[in-house]
Structures are given as structure tokens and as C-alpha cells.
């Protein structure tokens, strides 16, 4: 899958809102500033007018009565009004009184009022010039702008915080879950932390969808795992039975010739390596053809089964092994057994077969076997070894059957 840069919806929203908010705040600041400027300018103007109107009659009297000290005092009083930055009075007699910041005397918002003679308003006693204190105006405007911007800024911040909390964080958790390794994703369900008093919303529905999907997948995975285990077991047993079949003689349950050929080499090697004795007994049912001919093939098969059962019974179960070599021939492989011991075993087997006739439909059929015994000789090929034991069997057959013939008899020649 190709990695693609993913943009978070919430972040996008937050970014956009931030940009719009900053723009709005600036715009509001500008509008508020402009409005406040106009408003306060007007207010200032009215304030100047009001001050002038209230102070002019007194000032006019002071000018009329030639009271420079009183005039100065009144001007100082006027200049102490917060809105007033500069006051200048030009009296009819040429005297000029100034109070305040003289740099303000050319202020565009300065106003000039006429001082009328108290008893004859037609006569002018001079002029009063009032200039506003711009720092007060700036302060007022700045204050309203800052307050407005602060208010809207806080609002925007709140929106961003809410978006972050309500949208960005849960979405990020979902995203992390989706982007996590499949192992982790399979092992744990999606959990998104929301606020305590939170009411269910779309995100919760998505999360629930994920959770139920996870549950479903988990269930199916478990079923699948169980199915696989079943099938594997079945296959195993099938394989085992196939294995069994490939090395067993189906009629008698003994190992077959193929297995013997395969395994006898290993046995010989082991005997070589550990200097252990290994002896082979070759058995053949006497007059088996006669049994077949007399009683039929089915009884012949029964005879084979009967003989093999006795052979397996009379040998060591997990060490010795019995092979049906072909027709009515059997091989007993006796590891850890020298020739003398093997002769004993063969003798025991022979005696048991001779003593236990086959019972078929209430009729006893006497059976007997001839045995050849030969111990493995170091570094001997198994073909030579088999030839030797076969010679012994042949000797047993020749010497009257139902007997055991071992190799050590060097007189027996092929």
C-alpha cells in the first residue's frame, strides 16, 4: 500500500478557523477602532463644547473685569479636565494666556470659542481655544480595540479548544488505531476517551462500528484457527496412516519388505558403531502350498496371520521387529542379540507355532516353520548376510523342517 500524506479534518478546521478568526479579530479591531475613534472624537467635541459653554461666561467676566490671575486659574481648571490638552485665551487687549501642551495648539480638532462681553454680547472680548488631549483619545480608542479583540480572541480560542477536544483528539485516536500494526489492531479494540458528560455523537458511532467490527473479526479468527487445528490434526493422522501403510504388510500387520530394506542398513550401521550384536532369523512356513491347496487361500491367509501373531508375541515388542518378507517367508530382526540368544528365540517361536495349531471351523490345522539364524558380521553387506541366513533356512528345510539351523555350522555350503 502506498503511503499518502493524510490531512486531519480537525486540524484543517482548526487551522482555517484560526486564520479566519485572526482575520475577523483584525477586521473587528479595525472597525471597532474606527468606530471608537469617531465616537470618541464626537464625544470629545461635545465635551469641549460643554466645557466651553460652562466656562465661557465666567471667563468672559474675568476678562471683562481684567482679572489675569483669575483667568489663569480658570484656564488651569479647564486644562485639568481629562479631555483637554491645551487651552489658549486671547484677550481683546492683546494678552494671551496658555495652559497645557503648547504643541497641541494647531490640533485639527481644536475649537475656538468667542468670549462675549457679559453686558453686551455683540462685543467680543477675545477667543478661547480648546484642543483635545489626543493621548486620552488614543487611550480610549486603544482600550476599546483591545477589549473587542480580546473578547473575540478568547471566543476563537474557545472554539479551537473545543474542536481540539471534541473532534481532533478522538479522530487522532481513531487514526492511530487505524495506522497501528495489524497485530496490535487485532489484539485490542479501539477505545476513544471522551469527556465525562459527553453525549453520543457520530464519532462514537464510528468508534462503536470499529468495536463491533473488531469483535466480529476476532470471532471469525478464532473459528478459523479452530478449523485449521482440526484440519491439521486430520491431515496428521492421514499422513500417519499413509506412513503406516507404506511400511506395513496389510494382511499380517508385520513390517513389509520395503521397510526391511530401508531399515536393516541402519540397524547394521548401529551394530557396527556400537559393537553390538545383531542377529537375523529367517522363517518359512512348512508346506504352506499344501495348506492353500487343501483349505483354500482364505485359510492360507489365516495361517499367515496366525503364524505372524505368534512371532510377534514371542519376540520383544519394542526392540525386535517382524517382517513379512514375501509369501510365507518372515524375517525376525533381533538387535542386541547374539547368535546363541537368537537361536533360543527362534526355538521358542518354532515350539509355539508347532504347539498351537490353526483352528478353522472346528478343525485344527497343524503348522510348523523352519528357521535360519545368522548373526551379523561386521562390515558385511546385508545382501551377503541375507544370503547366509537364507542358506541356514535352506539347511533347516533340507534337514527335515520344523527346526532351527544357525550359521556357525561351516559345513553348510551353498
Amino acid at each position: 500500500m502506498q503511503e499518502q500524506a493524510v490531512q486531519s479534518v480537525a486540524n484543517k478546521l482548526i487551522k482555517r478557523i484560526s486564520v479566519y478568526c485572526v482575520a475577523s479579530v483584525l477586521a473587528i479591531g479595525v472597525v471597532e477602532g474606527w468606530y471608537s475613534w469617531r465616537h470618541h472624537s464626537k464625544e470629545f467635541d461635545q465635551g469641549l463644547k460643554l466645557i466651553a459653554e460652562s466656562q465661557l461666561p465666567l471667563l468672559a467676566i474675568s476678562v471683562w473685569e481684567a482679572e489675569p490671575l483669575v483667568i489663569q486659574r480658570q484656564l488651569v481648571q479647564i486644562s485639568q479636565q481629562p479631555a483637554i490638552g491645551y487651552v489658549r485665551l486671547r484677550a481683546d487687549i492683546g494678552a494671551v494666556f496658555e495652559v497645557g501642551d503648547t504643541a497641541l495648539h494647531d490640533h485639527p480638532n481644536a475649537r475656538i470659542f468667542n468670549l462675549a462681553q457679559p453686558y453686551d454680547r455683540e462685543i467680543s472680548l477675545g477667543t478661547l481655544e480648546l484642543a483635545p488631549d489626543p493621548s486620552v483619545l488614543y487611550y480610549e480608542v486603544g482600550r476599546s480595540v483591545v477589549v473587542a479583540m480580546l473578547g473575540y480572541g478568547i471566543l476563537c480560542l474557545l472554539i479551537i479548544v473545543l474542536l481540539k477536544r471534541e473532534v481532533e483528539r478522538p479522530l487522532r485516536q481513531i487514526l492511530e488505531y487505524v495506522g497501528a500494526s495489524p497485530d496490535r489492531r487485532n489484539s485490542q479494540s479501539l477505545v476513544v476517551a471522551r469527556g465525562q458528560d459527553h453525549r453520543k455523537d457520530e464519532i462514537d458511532i464510528v468508534v462503536e462500528g470499529f468495536q463491533s467490527m473488531h469483535k466480529e473479526i476476532d470471532k471469525q479468527m478464532r473459528e478459523l484457527d479452530a478449523e485449521v487445528a482440526n484440519r491439521t490434526n486430520a491431515l496428521q493422522s492421514a499422513m500417519e496412516s499413509i506412513q503406516q501403510l507404506s511400511i506395513m504388510d496389510p494382511l499380517t500387520g508385520c513390517y513389509n519388505r520395503r521397510l526391511f530394506n530401508e531399515r536393516i542398513m541402519q540397524e547394521a550401521e548401529r551394530a557396527d558403531r556400537y559393537q553390538r550384536a545383531l542377529t537375523l532369523v529367517f522363517a518359512d512356513i512348512d508346506f504352506f502350498k499344501r495348506v492353500n491347496d487343501t483349505h483354500g487361500h482364505l485359510v492360507g491367509d489365516q495361517a499367515l496371520c496366525h503364524v505372524s501373531t505368534i512371532m510377534r508375541r514371542e519376540t520383544r515388542e519394542s526392540v525386535d521387529w517382524v517382517v513379512r518378507y514375501g509369501g510365507e517367508e518372515f524375517l525376525l530382526v533381533l538387535p542386541e542379540t547374539d547368535q546363541e540368544q537368537a537361536i533360543g528365540t527362534a526355538e521358542r517361536v518354532r515350539a509355539a507355532i508347532a504347539a498351537e495349531p490353526l483352528l478353522v471351523r472346528g478343525q485344527t490345522i497343524a503348522l510348523s516353520c523352519s528357521f535360519g539364524v545368522a548373526q551379523y558380521q561386521p562390515d558385511e553387506s546385508h545382501v551377503a548376510w541375507l544370503e547366509r541366513v537364507d542358506k541356514c533356512l535352506y539347511a533347516a528345510k533340507q534337514t527335515g523342517r520344523n527346526r532351527v539351523c544357525a550359521w556357525e555350522n561351516r559345513d553348510i555350503q551353498i
Binding site: 473685569e65 492683546g94 494678552a95
Partner: protein
């Protein structure tokens, strides 16, 4: 016998035999006019055998109440027999109330209670406050009237009305509250109205202060360049206005004529030198005349029967340069010992029906 006399002499100050009077002087202790008032009173007191105690308020008129309280708080034998005080800035009634409560009779001097709202509280003399004996005031509008009239005549004599032009006059009054100031200005306006050929350009208020008048006068000169006459409510304001006129290279007494009120040495000199064209005075004697009144009252001659309770007496006289010279000669440096105050007392002169407090009589002949 000498022993008895010596015992007498020892006892004398402690006895209540000699009359004691306290005067609450509203002026400053270094103010020429009010010092002269005190000097005249001391002369009268010594002639009438009165123990006089003077306290200056230094123009802090509200202090009058404190002084009255102090007097009322004294032990009885140390309280004065009479207290003389004015009603400057309207504190008179409060003082009267305190002193009446303490049993000390009061005669108001220089200014009485004429304001209606004050009058409501104080009542008339000897009504609500039995010990408020009455008041003695100079006829202040006389001073304004006579000085203005003389000033106008001087202007006419200078020939400034020859071409049918009117005389341009400005007035420097004291203030807008003090009755004597208002009355003087009132007299001045009466004279202007009678004259017909005088235009009163403007009346301003210089607080009886020389420096303030000097500061304000240039405004009037700027506003009214044709000003010929300057009327002033006292001598100091006239001198202040003169300073301003001189700084414009005009000569007081020639280019611009001045009038003033008060018989200060400086004013008398200025009248003689011609810088002042008209001067009226004499009311500084009021304190001394008041001592004569309480002296007679103390000796059973109450002014109420003949003069009424609230007396407004003519006291101002217009001074000619010659009279100014004579005044300086007779009473220069505040020497008023030459005046025989007993001569004005009804107690000593039972044939005297009415008091005559006009100053003119003191210039006529010696003593």
C-alpha cells in the same frame, strides 16, 4: 492721706471703675488705614479713661468668631464692658450671638447687618440679642459721591469737555460683597449720573489692592484709550492705577486724573502734589466715635433715644490740598491726642442733642 492715695492707685487697675472696651479690628496690623483707626481710638480711650484692647484679624474675617469665643470664655472680671466689631464677610451675627450669651454688650462698627438673609437670623439690635446695642456706620456713599463729583469737576476744568466731548471714566472698586465698597461705588455712580457729560466705561474690582489695580489698569487703558478719569474706591487702588498710567508715559494729574478715599499720609501727599485730584476721608475716626458712644451708654446716655439703633453717620470729608496740609500738620504720624473727645460726649455735654461726627470740624480749628 498719701497712704490712702497709694492704696487707691494700687487698686485702680483691678477695679471696674475704668471702662474697658475690646475692638476686633478686621484689618491688618500694618495696614495704614486700620492702624490709623486704632491710633484714633487709643487717643479717644486715653481721653475718656477707657481701657482699650485691640485684636487684629489680619483680614481673616472668619477669625472674628474665634476672638469672640475667646472673650466669652474669659472669667467675668476679665471680660471687657463692651466689644466693638464689624460685620465683615457676614461673621458679625455669629459674634453677637456668642457675646450676647456671655453677657457682653456689642456695638457694631464700620459695617452693620443689612443683608436680608443675615437679618432674618440676627433680627434687629436689642431684639433677639438684647446686648447687641446697635451699629455705627459711616455714610459710605458720601465718599464715592464727593470724590467722583470733584474728579468730574477737575476734568471739566481741564477743558476736556470743551468740544462737547464727554469725559471717559473708569472705576476701580474694592469688591462685590463688602457693603462699604458697594456703597462707595453707588455714590460714584450717582455723581456720574448727575454730571451728564461723563461716560463710565467700566467698573472693575481690585480688592482694595495696589498691585492688583496696577495689573488690571493696563487692560482698561488698552480697552479704553480715551480714559481721562480714574475713580478708585480707596487710595491704594488709585496709586496702583497711577503706576500703570505712568508706565504708558502718561502723567497722573495731567493726562489722567485720579480720585481716592482714605487719609493716609501718602494720599495726602499725593493730593498736595496734584497726582490725586480728589480725596475724601475721615471715617477712620469711626472707632473713636464709637468709644464716645459706648462711654455715654455706660454713663446712662443711650444713643438709642436720639440717634436710633443703627446709625449711619456722615463722616467723610473731601479734602482740599490745604486741608490735607493742615491734617498732616495736626494729626501727622497718628497723633490724635490734640482732639478733646470729651467735647463730643453727651455725658460731659448734657446740652448736646445730637452727635456730630463729621471730620470737617476737626480741621477747622485746633483741638
Amino acid at each position: 492721706m498719701p497712704l490712702v492715695l497709694a492704696a487707691w492707685a494700687l487698686l485702680l487697675p483691678a477695679c471696674a471703675w475704668s471702662l474697658s472696651v475690646a475692638f476686633i479690628n478686621p484689618g491688618k496690623s500694618d495696614e495704614a488705614y486700620w492702624v490709623t483707626v486704632t491710633q484714633a481710638m487709643r487717643a479717644a480711650a486715653s481721653k475718656l479713661d477707657i481701657v482699650l484692647e485691640v485684636t487684629y484679624l489680619e483680614r481673616d474675617h472668619a477669625k472674628a468668631v474665634d476672638v469672640a469665643r475667646d472673650i466669652a470664655a474669659r472669667p467675668i472680671q476679665r471680660r471687657p464692658d463692651y466689644v466693638l466689631l464689624g460685620n465683615e464677610s457676614g461673621f458679625g451675627a455669629a459674634c453677637v450671638r456668642i457675646l450676647d450669651g456671655a453677657g457682653v454688650p456689642v456695638l457694631m462698627v464700620f459695617s452693620g447687618i443689612s443683608d436680608l438673609s443675615q437679618r432674618k437670623l440676627s433680627g434687629a439690635p436689642r431684639e433677639k440679642y438684647k446686648l447687641w446695642l446697635g451699629s455705627l456706620e459711616p455714610r459710605a456713599d458720601d465718599a464715592g459721591y464727593v470724590t467722583a463729583k470733584a474728579l468730574i469737576e477737575k476734568g471739566r476744568a481741564a477743558g476736556w469737555t470743551a468740544k462737547g466731548e464727554s469725559l471717559r471714566m473708569v472705576a476701580l472698586s474694592g469688591d462685590k460683597l463688602t457693603p462699604s465698597s458697594l456703597l462707595r461705588a453707588q455714590g460714584m455712580r450717582r455723581a456720574v449720573a448727575e454730571a451728564g457729560d461723563v461716560v463710565l466705561e467700566q467698573e472693575i474690582f481690585s480688592g482694595f489692592d495696589r498691585a492688583r489695580a496696577a495689573e488690571q489698569m493696563p487692560w482698561l487703558l488698552q480697552r479704553y484709550p480715551k480714559t481721562r478719569l480714574v475713580w478708585a474706591g480707596n487710595d491704594l487702588m488709585a496709586f496702583g492705577a497711577m503706576d500703570a498710567v505712568r508706565s504708558r508715559n502718561l502723567i497722573p494729574g495731567q493726562d489722567v486724573l485720579f480720585s481716592g478715599i482714605n487719609t493716609s499720609p501718602h494720599a495726602l501727599d499725593a493730593l498736595r502734589s496734584g497726582e490725586l485730584s480728589a480725596l475724601a476721608g475721615g471715617h477712620f475716626m469711626l472707632g473713636a466715635w464709637a468709644l464716645v458712644l459706648v462711654y455715654d451708654h455706660h454713663h446712662g446716655r443711650d444713643f438709642a433715644q436720639t440717634e436710633g439703633l443703627e446709625m449711619v453717620q456722615p463722616m467723610f470729608s473731601l479734602f482740599s490740598p490745604q486741608q490735607a496740609a493742615r491734617f498732616s500738620q495736626l494729626y501727622g504720624d497718628g497723633r490724635f491726642d490734640a482732639i478733646d473727645f470729651k467735647r463730643f460726649s453727651k455725658f460731659h455735654n448734657p446740652q448736646l442733642k445730637r452727635y456730630n461726627f463729621e471730620f470737617q470740624q476737626l480741621l477747622g480749628r485746633k483741638g
